[in-house]
C-alpha cells in the first residue's frame, strides 16, 4: 500500500527541524503510521484489516518547554495542527491526527524536576511515564497513588490532558485532586504557569480548565502533583452481595462513614464470573471459583468462561441477548473487593469498620483472597483485548458516573439498551461520598470491519442515550477524543459555546488537536 506524503509545508518542517535537531523529527512513513493510531477500538479494527487512518505529517520530540513554544509558534504561523502525545494509551482516539499536522511526542520531557518532601509534592515533566514516576517515588518512600490500568504505557501529561482516574482513587483521588500547579503552552506560544499552591481564591482555576481538555486548549509540559508517604500496610477484604443494589448500598455506606478504602469495586453477576479468569495462577483462580456460590448453571459458565471470548466472533453478533441471559443462572451474587492502605492502625480500623458495615448489609465475608487476587491481577484485564481483536471481535469499555440515587437505574438502563447488540457486563468503582462510576465492558462482532464499526457506534449511541436519559455523565475518566465527540453538545448544552470561545482565545489559529472534544 502506498502511504501518501504529508501535507505540511517543507518550509515549516525545515523550521521545526532547526528547532529540535534532525535526530528529533521523523517524516518516516513507519513512524507516521505508528502515530496514526492509539488504543481506541476503531483504530484496532482498521489495523486488523491492514487499513491506515489519518496520518501525521511528522513526529517531533521536543527537548523542553522552550522548544514546544517555538514549535507552536511555527505551527500557528503555518496553520499546521499539533497533537500533543504522551504514550498513546488513550481509548477514545484523543491523539489520532484527524487533520494531519505534527505529533508532538513529549517523552523527552521526562525528568523529575523537584521532590519536595516537606510539602509532599513532586514536579515532573509531562512526558514521564506513570510507572517510571511511581517507581522513582517509591524508591524515596512515596507514592503518587495514581494507578490507571494504563500506568505502564501512559504519561503524566496524558493523565492531566484526559482527566484520568486511577484504580485507588477512592483514597488518593483522581488526577484533578492531585494537581497543585502546571506549566502549559497555549496555542499562541505563550507559557501559562499556575502556581503550585494547595489552594487559591483567585477566580477561575486554570489547572481545572486545562485538565481534561485533551490538548485542545494548551500543551501541558510540566506539573506539580501531590504525593503521599508510601503505605506502611495494605489489607484486603472481599464480600459477596446478593445483587448490585445491595452491593452499591454497602459502598455508599462505607463512603458515608468516612472510610476510604484505596480500591472498592463491585462486580455485577456476569463480571463476577469472568473476573476470576484473568489470573495466571490457576490454583488461586480455582480456589476463588470455589469461594463464591455458583449454581449448576454457574458451573457450566465457569467451564466455558475462559473460552467465552474466543467464541465471540461466531456467537455474539446474533446471540448477545442469549449470552447476557446467562447471568441469571451464573451466580448468586456480586463480588465486592476492597483494599485498604496507609498507616497500620488506621488501616486495621478501616477494615474492621468496613467489614462490620458489609456484614450488617447482608454481605457474606469471603476473606482477603479474592481482593488479593484482584490486586495481583489488577492490570491483567487490559491484556484480554489482544485475544478479542485477534479473533475478529471488538471490545470496548464505557465508564459513566452519577449520584447514588441514579446509580443502579443507570446500570440497568444502559444494560437494557445494549443487551440485544452486545455481550455486556459491568463493575462499579471510583466511589465518592455522593456517587460512583459504572464501568461497562461490551464485546460484539460483525462480519466486516465496516459493520463492526457500525455495531460499535450503535452500542455507544444506545448507551449514551440511556445515560443522558438517566442524567448521568457519559465519561468518568476515559475522556472524549473523537469517538465520543458527538455527545459533547448534549452533555454541555450552551456551555459548549463557552468552551469554543476559550478555544478561540487560547488557540486562535485552531492548531491544537483539531477535531476533538466536539470543537
Amino acid at each position: 500500500m502506498h502511504i501518501a506524503p504529508g501535507q505540511a509545508s517543507e518550509k515549516f518542517l525545515r523550521a521545526v527541524t532547526k528547532v529540535v535537531g534532525s535526530d528529533h523529527i521523523s517524516l518516516a512513513d513507519l513512524d507516521r503510521l505508528s502515530y496514526s493510531r492509539d488504543l481506541n477500538p476503531v483504530s484496532n479494527l482498521s489495523t486488523n484489516e491492514g487499513r491506515f487512518g489519518p496520518m501525521p505529517d511528522a513526529v517531533v520530540w521536543p527537548a523542553d518547554t522552550q522548544q514546544v513554544v517555538q514549535i507552536v509558534k511555527l505551527a500557528a504561523e503555518h496553520r499546521t495542527p499539533i497533537i500533543a502525545f504522551g504514550a498513546g494509551s488513550g481509548v477514545c482516539g484523543g491523539t489520532v491526527p484527524l487533520r494531519g499536522g505534527i505529533i508532538l511526542d513529549l517523552k523527552r520531557l521526562n525528568q523529575i524536576i523537584k521532590l519536595d518532601e516537606d510539602s509532599l509534592a513532586v514536579t515532573a515533566g509531562a512526558g514521564i511515564i506513570g510507572q517510571h514516576l511511581e517507581m522513582e517515588l517509591n524508591r524515596k518512600g512515596y507514592t503518587m497513588g495514581h494507578f490507571p490500568s494504563s500506568v505502564y504505557s501512559s504519561t503524566l501529561g496524558g493523565y492531566l490532558a484526559a482527566r484520568s482516574a486511577g484504580q485507588l482513587s477512592a483514597k488518593y483521588g483522581k488526577i484533578e485532586d492531585m494537581i497543585l500547579g502546571l506549566e502549559a503552552v497555549l496555542g499562541t506560544g505563550e507559557i501559562l504557569r499556575t502556581p503550585a499552591t494547595p489552594r487559591a481564591s483567585l477566580g477561575p482555576d486554570w489547572n481545572q480548565v486545562l485538565i481534561g481538555s485533551e490538548g485542545t486548549l494548551a500543551i501541558i509540559t510540566e506539573a506539580t502533583c501531590r504525593i503521599r508517604p508510601y503505605p506502611a500496610e495494605r489489607r484486603f477484604a472481599s464480600f459477596v452481595f446478593p445483587g448490585p443494589s445491595e452491593g452499591t448500598e454497602a459502598i455508599r455506606q462505607i463512603m458515608r462513614h468516612e472510610l476510604r478504602p484505596a480500591a472498592i469495586r463491585l462486580y455485577d453477576e456476569l463480571d463476577t464470573v469472568l473476573v476470576g479468569t484473568s489470573s495466571k495462577n490457576e490454583e488461586s483462580s480455582e480456589s476463588f471459583w470455589n469461594a463464591i456460590p455458583i449454581s449448576q448453571f454457574g458451573n457450566f459458565v465457569k467451564s466455558v468462561a475462559p473460552g467465552l471470548i474466543r467464541r465471540t466472533e461466531r456467537f455474539f453478533g446474533k446471540r448477545a441477548d442469549l449470552i447476557n441471559l446467562l447471568e441469571k443462572f451464573a451466580t448468586k451474587g456480586c463480588l465486592l473487593v476492597m483494599t485498604f492502605e496507609g498507616e497500620s492502625d488506621l488501616v486495621a480500623d478501616e477494615e474492621t469498620l468496613a467489614t462490620e458495615l458489609c456484614e450488617k448489609l447482608g454481605g457474606v465475608n469471603h476473606g482477603p483472597e479474592a481482593a488479593l487476587r484482584w490486586w495481583n491481577n489488577r492490570y491483567h484485564v487490559s491484556y484480554k483485548q489482544s485475544k478479542v481483536f485477534y479473533h475478529g471481535a471488538i471490545v470496548d469499555t464505557i465508564e459513566m458516573a452519577t449520584t447514588w440515587d441514579k446509580l443502579v437505574p443507570l446500570y440497568e438502563e444502559v444494560r437494557k439498551a445494549v443487551r440485544d447488540m452486545a455481550f455486556i457486563m459491568a463493575h462499579f468503582s471510583h466511589a465518592y461520598l455522593d456517587g460512583a462510576s459504572v464501568y461497562f465492558t461490551f464485546v460484539t462482532a460483525a462480519p466486516s470491519v465496516e459493520k463492526a464499526e457500525q455495531a460499535h457506534r450503535a452500542v455507544w449511541d444506545a448507551a449514551a442515550t440511556a445515560c443522558q436519559r438517566v442524567g448521568a455523565a457519559i465519561s468518568h475518566h476515559h475522556g472524549i477524543g473523537y469517538t465520543k465527540a458527538r455527545f459533547m453538545s448534549e452533555e454541555h448544552g450552551q456551555m459548549m459555546r463557552v468552551y469554543e470561545a476559550l478555544k478561540r482565545e487560547m488557540d486562535p489559529a485552531g492548531i491544537l488537536n483539531p477535531g476533538k472534544m466536539g470543537l
Binding site: 503510521l33 491492514g50 491506515f52 511526542d105 505502564y152 504505557s153 483485548q385 478479542v388
Partner: protein
C-alpha cells in the same frame, strides 16, 4: 519464517502496550514505532499485505536488545525477541539487513570472531601453557568478548580456581573463539550453524563446560542444540560453578572487599538462565558492605544495551540504554558496578568511563 509467530504478532498488534515502560529501546528513543507494539504492528501489516517488506521494516526488527524484560509484563508471555530474530533471519535471506550488519558478518567470516584479532594467540600469551589441555574433561570457555576486553578477568578466574586448589579446569584454546551469538543476533543463521559445527567439534570431549559469559552459556546450552550441535548437558556460568564451592569455605579469604558495590543482573544470566542467587552469594561471602540492588533487579533487571546486536547496528541507542541504567550507580555514596557478563561490562564502560565496572570474579580475586 514469520508464519509460525502469527499469534505473537497479532497479539502484540492489539495489546495495551503494558510492556512499554520496560522496553529499553522504547525508553531510550521515546518512539512508539520502536516499542514491541510498534514492531509487531509493522509485521502484522506486512502479513496483511498492507505494507511492503522493505529495509525500513526490517531495520525496526533490529531495534530489540533481546533482553526479554517485555515478557515479564506480558500476560500472554509473548517472547518478542524470538519474533525479531526470525524477522532478522528473513531480512538476511532477502538482503534487507542493515548495512552495519552485513559488514559485521563479512568481518566475522574473515576472522572467525567479531573482534578481528587472533584471540587464540592472545589467550596463549595470557595464560601459562599448563592451563591448556585439549583432552581435559572440565573446560573453561572464556568467550571472545572476555578474551578481547577483559583478559585480567580470565587471569583472575584462574587465580581464584588456584586459590581453591581446583586444578582440573583447563582453558579452551580458542581456535574457534566465539560461540556465534553475534551472528545469531544479526540473523545469519547459516553462518551461525557453521560456527556451531566447528565449535561442536572443538568441545566434543568436554564433560563440563564453564564460562564467564552468560551469552556463551546460553548459546552453548540452548542455541547450539537448536542448530543441531549437542554438547555436554553440564554447561555452567562461572558463578554457578563457584558459588557452592565458596559456600563450602574453599576460598581462602585473606581480606574482605570493602568498597560499596551494586550488582547488575545480566539478562542472559538472569531471565534466560535463571541464575540470580549465585552471584549475590559469592559477593556476600567476600564483601563487608551489603550489596546494593538496582530498583530493576533479578527477574526484572533492566538491560545494559549490549545485547541483541544493538551495539553493532544502533550504537547510540546502546549507549543511551546503558546510561539510563547507570543513573542509579551515581546516586548516593560512591560505588562500583559489579556484574557477571563481559558484554554488560563493555556496554557500561563504553557509555560512561567514570564508573568502575567489575566482574564478580574480579571482586573475589581481590580478596585472596
Amino acid at each position: 519464517m514469520l508464519k509460525k509467530f502469527h499469534k505473537e504478532i497479532e497479539y502484540g498488534t492489539y495489546c495495551p502496550k503494558l510492556c512499554r515502560f520496560a522496553c529499553p529501546v522504547a525508553n531510550a528513543t521515546g518512539n512508539e514505532t520502536q516499542t514491541p507494539w510498534g514492531r509487531m504492528t509493522l509485521l502484522h501489516l506486512v502479513g496483511e499485505g498492507a505494507l511492503n517488506w522493505n529495509r525500513e521494516v526490517s531495520l525496526s526488527t533490529y531495534r530489540c536488545t533481546t533482553c526479554m524484560l517485555c515478557r515479564e509484563y506480558c500476560d500472554h508471555e509473548i517472547e518478542v525477541p524470538a519474533v525479531m530474530l526470525a524477522a532478522r533471519e528473513k531480512a538476511v535471506a532477502d538482503r534487507m539487513q542493515p548495512q552495519e550488519s552485513a559488514e559485521f558478518e563479512r568481518f566475522f567470516s574473515e576472522r572467525h570472531n567479531p573482534m578481528g584479532d587472533d584471540l587464540a594467540a592472545r589467550l596463549r600469551t595470557l595464560l601459562p601453557s599448563s592451563l591448556f589441555n585439549p583432552d581435559a574433561q572440565v573446560v573453561y570457555f572464556p568467550g571472545c568478548v572476555m578474551i578481547y576486553n577483559y583478559p585480567q578477568t580470565i587471569k583472575n578466574t584462574f587465580r581464584v580456581l588456584e586459590a581453591m586448589d581446583i586444578n582440573y579446569v583447563a582453558c579452551y584454546d580458542a581456535e574457534v573463539p566465539c560461540c556465534g551469538v553475534p551472528l545469531h543476533d544479526q540473523g545469519y543463521q547459516e553462518a551461525f550453524a557453521k560456527n556451531a559445527q566447528e565449535l561442536g567439534r572443538k568441545l566434543s570431549k568436554a564433560k563440563v563446560i564453564i564460562t564467564g559469559c552468560p551469552s556463551c552459556a546460553y548459546t552453548l546450552k540452548v542455541q547450539l542444540p537448536q542448530a543441531g550441535v549437542q554438547l555436554t548437558d553440564r554447561i555452567y556460568h562461572m558463578t554457578e560453578f563457584l558459588a557452592p564451592l565458596v559456600a563450602e569455605g574453599k576460598l581462602p579469604i585473606r581480606r574482605p572487599y570493602t568498597k560499596r558495590l551494586i550488582y547488575h543482573d545480566p539478562c542472559y544470566l538472569g531471565r534466560y538462565l535463571h541464575v540470580f542467587d549465585q552471584p549475590r552469594q559469592l559477593l556476600n561471602e567476600v564483601c563487608r558492605e551489603p550489596i546494593e540492588e538496582f530498583s530493576w533487579h533479578r527477574q526484572k533487571s533492566y538491560c545494559c544495551g549490549g545485547g541483541g546486536g544493538i551495539p553493532v547496528t544502533n550504537p547510540v541507542m546502546a549507549r543511551d540504554i546503558a546510561q539510563k541504567r547507570l543513573v542509579e550507580v551515581h546516586e548516593g555514596e560512591k560505588k562500583s558496578l559489579v556484574t557477571a557478563c563481559p558484554s554488560c561490562m563493555r556496554a557500561f564502560e563504553k557509555a560512561d568511563d567514570s564508573v568502575e565496572v567489575l566482574d564478580v570474579v574480579d571482586v573475589l580475586a581481590r580478596c585472596i
